[in-house]
Amino acid sequence: MGLALVLALTLIVLLVGLIAVRGLGAFWPGRLDLVTLRADAPRDLPGDAFFGQPVREEAFDPTSADEARIASLRAAGELLPGAVGPDGRPRRRLYYVANRDAGQEPFRWVAVMDMAAPTLRPTDAAWIDRREWGPWLGVVEALVEDRELPAGTPLETDAPGATREPVTGPRGETHVRERRVMPLDDDSGPGALREAMRAAAARRAEIRRIERTERIPLDARIAAWDERLADARLRASRGAPPRLAWPAFAAISLAGAAGWAGFALFRNRAHHAEPAAPARTRALACAIAGSCLLLWAVLERPWHAGAVAPEDLDALTRAHAREVAALTDAGEAIDLRLSALRAADARFSVIIREPRTGGFAPRDYSTRTDPLPVSAIVRVTHPNRLTLLGRAGAYLDRCTEFLFGAPRNANQEGGVWGVIVGTVTLTLLLTVAVVPLGVIAALYLREYARQNLFTSLVRIAVNNLAGVPSIVYGVFGLGFFCYTLGAWVDSGPRVSAPRGAWWLMVLLLGVVLLVAWSLALAAASRAEASRWARRGALVLWGVCAALALALIAWNPYFHGFFAARAAGNQPTFGGRGILWSALTLALLTLPVVIVATEEAIAGVPRSLRESSYGCGASKWQTIRRVVLPGAMPGIMTGAILAISRGAGEVAPIMFVGATKIASKLPVSGEFPFIRLEAQFMHLGFHIYDLGFQAKDAEAARPLVWATTLLLVLIVLSLNLAAVIIRSRLRGRRTGAF
C-alpha cells in the first residue's frame, strides 16, 4: 500500500517536474559553438565550419573505421581532448544548426574526433529569429539600404560603400538602384540594426493597423453585398410565397408554453406541494418566451423574407455592382498605401554570413539574390555575448512572445496567444453549457422524478456515458452537431414535410395537447382516477414534445439562417466550429456533473429540508434556498473537475472544430463578441500538431514542452480551484473556519 502510494506520488512529481523543467527551459538562450571540421572528416554536407547550439553529448559505438581513425589521430597527437570518453568509447555531440532553408537538417551529430579544433564561442555569433523558415545562425555583417533613383542618374557615386546599377522593374520601366552597404562592426553596428528593426516594426504595426481597421472591414462589406445578392437570387429562384416560418414558430412556442403551464399546474395539484407560481415567476416566464420570439424574429426577419420579384432582383443587382465597384476602388487605394509600406520594408536588409558557405541568409535561398530583409527578422540575439542579466532579458522576451505572440513558421515558433484564447473560450462555452444542464438533470433525477425503473435506467445510461471513449463523442459531434443540426441551422431541413401534412401535424399537436391537459386536470381533481390519468397525461406530454420537435425539424417554411452562404458551399454553422466543440465536450463531461451534483444533493440532510418545508417553503424554494446552497461545494467540485477534463480533451475537438492555424480569434471586439461558428486553436491539439505533425518535430520540441506546461498549468489550476472552493465552502458549512 505504502509502496504503491510512494510510487504514484513519485510518478506524479516526475511527470510534473519534467514538464516544468523542459517547459521553463525552452526559451533559455543557449550558447552557440563554432564547430570546425577536420579536412579529412567524413561529411554529409559541404563546408567545414558551422554554428550550432549544443543539445547533448553521448558516447557511441565506433565502427572499425572509426577505431582506425582514432588510432591514427592518437598516433599523430591530434586527437582532441574529450574525443574519447573515460570508458574508451568515442563521443559525439548533437548540434542544433538551424538554417533550414540552406538545405540542411536542423540537427546534426558531430563526432568530437572529427573536429579540427576545440569549439569556439565567437561573440559575434547571432541567433536570428525570422518570421518564416525558422531561426538562422550566423554573423550579422552589414546593413543594406537600397534606394530607387530616377532613370538618368549617373552610375558612379562616391558615397562610402555605395554602388549603383540600372534595374528593370516588373512593368518594363528602368531606373537606377543605389545599394549602400554599412558594415556592422561591434561599436556602430548593433545600434544601426536596432534602429532599422524598430522602423520595420513600426511599419509592420502600421500595415497591420491598416489591414485590421480598413482592409478587412472593407472586404467584409463587399462580402456582405455578395451575400445579400446571393440570398436574393436564391429566394428569387425558389419562388416561395412569403415564409410562414414566423407564425409557425410562434404557434409552436405558444403550444409549448401552454403545455408547460399545463404540466406545471398538473404537478402542483398532484403533489399539493407547490403554491401557484407567484406572479413574478409567471412574468419572468412570459418575458423569456417573449424575448426568445423577438430574438428569433430579429434573426429571421420574416417581414422581408418573402419571395423576391424580378425587378427587385435587378435593382439589387445594379446596386450591388455599383457598391462593389466603389468599394473595390477604395480597396485599391488602401492597397496602394500598403504596397508603399511594403516597398519601404523591402529597402532595408541585412547581410548575414554563414560560416559553412561563407554566404548570407538570403531572402529567397533558391535564387540567392537579395539579402534578408530587416522586416523578416523578429529578433537578433548574440547568446555568447550576453551577461546573465541579458540572458534573462532575452528569456523573458521570448516567454512574452510565446504567451502573447502570434504563431510563426507553421506554428513551430512564435506565440500561442490565439491558442490560449481558443482554449479559454472553448472552456467557458463548455462551462456555460454543461453546468446548468448537469445541475438541472441531477435536480430532476434526485428531487422531482419518482425513483423507479425509468430513473434507474437514466442513471445507468449517464454512468455509461462516462465510459464511452472520447473519440466516439468526436464522431458523434461531427455527425450530429456539425452535419445535422448545423446544416439545419444553415439551410433549413434537408427534407421538409409537405405543407399540408405539416399543418395536419400542427392540428394533431393541438389535439394531443388538449387531451393531455384535460387528463392532467382530471388526474389532479379526482383522486381515484388519478393514477391512470396521470400516466396517460405523461405519455401524451411525451408525444407532444416529440411532435413539436418534428414540427420544428421538418418545418417546410424554414429555409435556414445562412442559406445563401451554404448554397455557395461556405457553411456557417454547418461545419466544424467552436460551438459544436463546446457542446460535444459538454456531452462528454455531463456525467461528471450529474453524478457529483446528485451526490451533493443527496448529502443535504433530510432534517434541513423538513425544517424548510416546516417554515412554509415550497419545493422549489427549498431547493433553491436550502438544498442548492448546501450542495454547492459538491456541485462546484464536480463542475470544475468536469471543466478541467473538458479543457484537456483533444480527441473529440479534432473532429468538431480545432484547427492548426486559425487566422481569427473566436472572440472579437465587435457586437456578438464571440464567433460561435469559427474554428479555433486549442492547446491540446496544438501539442499534438507540434509534436507529430510539424515539419520539423525535433526543432519544435521546446515549444511542445512549453505548450504542455501551459496546458498542465491550466488544468492543474482548475483542479486546485476545485479543491480550494470545496474546502472553503465546507468550512463555511460546518462553521469550522
Binding site: A273, P278, L608, G614, G616, S618, R733
Partner: protein
Amino acid sequence: MTVPDAAIPPAPSPRGHVRADPGAPSSAPARRSVLDAIRAGEHVEAEVHRDARFADPVLDIRSFCLHYGPTQALFDVSLGAARNRVTAIIGPSGCGKSTLLRSVNRLNDLVDGVRITGDMLLNGSSIYDRRTDVIHLRKRLGMVFQKPNPFPMSIFENVVYPLRIDGERRRSVLLGACERALRASAIWDEVKDRLSASALRLSGGQQQRLCIARAIVADPEVLLLDEPCSALDPIATLRVEELIHEISARYTVLIVTHNMQQAMRVSDFTAFMYLGRLVEYGPTAEIFQRPHLPETEQYVTGRFG
C-alpha cells in the same frame, strides 16, 4: 401520498372495547390494564378530563389515524389544544408523538406511503381538506425539531427565512421582525452584534433558540416543538424552558417531551400516549398528581417506560 378519505372509518378492533372507568380506584386488581389492551391491539377509548374538553380549541385533532405503509402509527387520536396554553405530549419512545406533531403541519406528506384518516382543524379550518393549501397551512404553524437545524446561512437570514420565502424584501421589515423574534426567543443579546455570522457557529443551545426564533418570526397560530431540549445541556434546557414559558403568553404551544419534569414545569395540559393511542389527556397538575388511570400514574412516576 396522503389522501384523506372520510369514507373509510377507523377500523374498530375486532376484540371489542375496553372502557376505562374514571371513578375506579387506581389499583383495582380485577381490571385489565389499559396498556395491556393497547398492546393486544384492542380499541381503547382515551380518558379525557373534563377540563381538557375545550369548546373552542385552536387545534382540534379528530379521530386521527395514520399509516406508514402497512404499519399503523396513530390510532384514532382525538385531542384539542387550548389557546395560549402549552400542551405537552408524553409517552415512551416510538409511541407516535413525533408523528402526531408532524401530522399537524403535514410534514408526513413528504414521506412516501403515508395514509391518513380523520382530520384536524386549525382555528376551525380543516388541515387535511383537499382544498387546503399546504404551503399556506405550514406558514400558519411554526415547528422546532429535536436536533437544532439552522440553515447554512447567516443568523439573520435564518431568522427571516419564513418571511423571505413569503416574498418580503423590505430590509426594515425584515430587520424589525428579526429583532422581535430574537428578543422573544431570548437570544437577541447574544447575537445582536453578529447577525451576519454563520448560524452554524452558534452553540447547540443558541442554535435551538435560533430555531425557535425562526419558528415564531411569522407569528404562527400554533408552535410545534418536538423534544426541543433533548439535544441540549441542562443550562441550555433551562433557558429554552423559560423561553417556552414566556412565549406561551402569546402562542399556543404543542410540545413533545420525554422528560416528566419538563412537562410538569412548562405545560398547562398533558397528553399521555402509548403505542399510537392517546391514553389520558388532562390538565398537567391532574395528570401528574391525580391521574384517572393507574397506568398514567405508573408512567409519570417513572415506574415503567
